[in-house]
């Protein structure tokens, strides 16, 4: 800076050097080297690095395409019985189909063979995994909604509300689930059937009452773990300054819970929900195997395996395909959940 000759002068003390164009060095200091990383970007970055999780995500997407999109283009349907082609081995043609082929017509091969009623097995497996996936996803959403609402209300109000609500969770947690599921699916049969006859409730018939009773069971019994998880998170979060600030600005309880508390434990919510999917699929296959799952002719992976048991000596592939697929689905959802946990909720590890 140049020294002004007269310190008492009222001339503005401006240094012309300050108005020179910035040099490259100076510009460099203002360049943002790395963009500020948001919670999502950080998590996605960590998730992408995890090879096992990426592979399981790819498998999950592949199975979804296989079970939701492929059936639309498939030439057979899951309930269509083809006379004369019962019990075909994979890629085998029945006599009629061979005649058709000899006549120059194109017959789509039974990739996985057919079952004892002449139904194409590949499409039945696809529909079965569709049911399993639907059960897993819907049950996870039900549990997410009920569990997070219950847990956050208990934690936010505290005091006797908390004690009372957590006792309810304790009791639900100790109820042996399978006993009640078996009973409930029997007991809900008739009322749901009656409801399905009424106008406006035709969708019950479409879904099958067993499927709905499975959802009801999940909604009644399985949200305890989620509620506990959310409660413990919110107990610490509700002491944060931003909650006090929100309250000072006049936000209501519902808004604070929805906008501030639940959004801040989103990592836990995602992870717990994802890990819930495989266990719901597990339970559904167990029920279908016992004959309490979806209604015939709708297949589920569990009921396909159950049907194939009697023919295990002669047609083992009918058993092994759905069995392998259900294991693959559960495995890839488990690994996906683990990967999500490592990426979005590092504190929860172990």
């Amino acid at each position: 800076m140049k020294e002004n000759p007269n310190p008492l002068s009222f001339q503005a003390r401006i240094d012309p050097d300050d108005f020179l164009p910035a040099s490259n060095e100076e510009k460099q200091s203002l360049v943002i080297m790395r963009e500020s990383v948001s919670f999502w970007k950080d998590g996605v970055r960590r998730f992408r690095k995890n090879k096992v999780a990426m592979v399981s995500l790819a498998v999950v997407i592949l199975i979804m395409i296989f079970s939701f999109i492929v059936p639309f283009f498939y030439p057979y349907t899951y309930e269509q019985q083809i006379r004369g082609s019962e019990h075909l081995a994979p890629m085998e043609y029945s006599e009629q189909e061979q005649e058709l082929r000899a006549a120059g017509e194109h017959v789509f091969p039974h990739i996985l063979g057919t079952d004892k009623l002449g139904r194409d097995y590949a499409i039945r497996v696809m529909m079965g995994s569709r049911i399993s996936l639907i059960v897993g996803l819907v049950a996870a959403v039900i549990i997410l909604v009920i569990g997070s609402a219950f847990g956050s209300i208990a934690a936010f109000f505290g005091g006797w509300v908390d004690i009372l609500m957590m006792r309810v969770v304790d009791i639900i947690y100790t109820i042996p689930d399978i006993l009640l599921i078996v009973l409930l699916s029997f007991a809900l049969k008739a009322p749901l059937e009656k409801l399905g006859m009424m106008p406006g409730f035709g969708w019950i018939q479409l879904l099958g009452r067993n499927l709905i009773s499975i959802f009801i069971v999940f909604a009644l019994l399985y949200w305890g773990g989620m509620a506990r998880m959310v409660r413990s998170q919110i107990l610490t979060l509700k002491e944060s300054e931003y909650v006090t600030a929100a309250r000072a600005l006049g936000a209501g309880t519902a808004r604070i819970i929805k906008k501030h508390l639940l959004t801040n434990c989103i990592g836990t919510l995602i992870v717990t929900t994802t890990l819930q999917i495989p266990s719901s699929i597990f339970t559904e296959s167990f029920l279908s195997f016992l004959g309490l799952g979806v209604a015939v002719p709708m297949p589920s992976l569990g009921s396909l395996a159950s049907d194939a048991i009697n023919g295990i000596n002669t047609y083992p592939h009918l058993l092994f395909i759905p069995a392998a697929l259900i294991s693959l689905i559960i495995l890839s959802f488990n690994l996906l959940g683990d990967g999500l946990r490592d990426a979005f909720d590092p504190k929860m590890k172990n």
């Binding site: 042996p176 078996v182 009973l183």
Partner: protein, 305 residues
């Protein structure tokens, strides 16, 4: 401590009562009755049968009578299996299930704990990776899949083991293996992670520094601390073996309590449904309470709430 046990037992009693009540009204919601499937029962005979077992009274009265009797230890007679009390049915069927379940728990514990330790001590090596992959897959496979694969390979293809019934020790191998599969995989994973945690602790380094042999440090210091999470898992594990045995009993046609339970529901044998539900629920809940108490006794660091 005393207060804690009392609280847990209180919750257990409430839960059991809740389950009994729920079961009672749920099973009465199921259409059909216990005497409908029998051949051509005349209306008069049906009324007489219903009167004999008190089924003609209002539901609430039946409920009060039942709970009163159950509190005195009387679970009634089976409606379907003439001349047998529910207690005698449970007493004859439960040992079968308990033997298979107990053996499975034992096998899972004896295989899972060493596998988990080996895996943790060889962290990052080939053996560790193999064990992890196996355990991860083991958790994903439902029990009916394992049952059927075992049955196909050893029963049908190789013919080494008998597939049905429960007459000799050979009959036990497949059901117990199938039932132990999932818990073994789970215990292995649990043991590995808790062992890794313990091996990184300062006291392990101290033990090594003062010259304790590897054997002693492993068994005296590491294992005793690392096994605690496995102990807590024993409660849920019991619940799993009870419910898992439904499937195993169905596939291997074993005359156990799981099959009896499913059968009683399809037959609308009300008293047997109630009896088995209350029995199994009580067993599972009490085992959970017991495990929690033992856990807190074993590990003084855990405060009783």
């Amino acid at each position: 401590m005393f207060k804690y046990i009392l609280k847990r037992l209180g919750i257990a009693v409430v839960t059991i009562w809740l389950i009994a009540t729920l079961t009672f009204f749920l099973m009465n919601m199921v259409p059909g009755g216990p005497f409908l499937s029998e051949k051509a029962v005349s209306p008069a005979a049906l009324a007489a049968l219903e009167a004999k077992y008190g089924l003609d009274k209002p539901l609430l009265e039946q409920y009060v009578t039942y709970i009163g009797d159950a509190l005195h230890g009387d679970f009634g007679d089976s409606l379907k299996q003439r001349g047998r009390t529910v207690t005698s049915i449970i007493a004859s069927k439960f040992p079968v299930s308990a033997r298979i379940g107990g053996l499975a728990v034992l096998a899972a514990f004896c295989v899972g704990v060493p596998l988990g330790c080996i895996s943790a001590m060889n962290r990052g090596k080939l053996g560790d990776s193999i064990i992890i992959v196996l355990a991860t897959c083991g958790i994903a496979v439902p029990s009916f899949v394992i049952c059927t694969v075992l049955m196909y390979t050893f029963g049908v293809r190789l013919g080494w083991l008998p597939t049905l019934g429960l007459n000799s020790w050979k009959h036990y191998i497949m059901p117990v293996t199938a039932l132990a599969f999932y818990p073994t995989a789970y215990i292995t994973r649990l043991m590995r992670s808790s062992m890794l945690d313990v091996l990184g602790q300062d006291y392990m380094r101290t033990a090594k520094a003062k010259g304790v042999s590897q054997f002693a440090s492993l068994f005296k210091h590491a294992l005793r601390n690392a096994i605690l999470p496995v102990v807590t898992y024993l409660g849920p594990l019991l619940a799993y073996t009870v419910t898992g045995s439904f499937i195993v009993e169905k596939i291997f046609t074993i005359p156990g309590l799981g099959g009896e339970f499913i059968g009683s529901i399809t037959n609308r044998d009300y008293t047997v449904i109630m009896g088995t539900t209350i029995f199994l629920a009580t067993l599972m809940i009490l085992m959970n309470v017991l495990v929690d108490i033992v856990y807190k006794l074993v590990d003084p660091r855990i405060k009783l709430k």
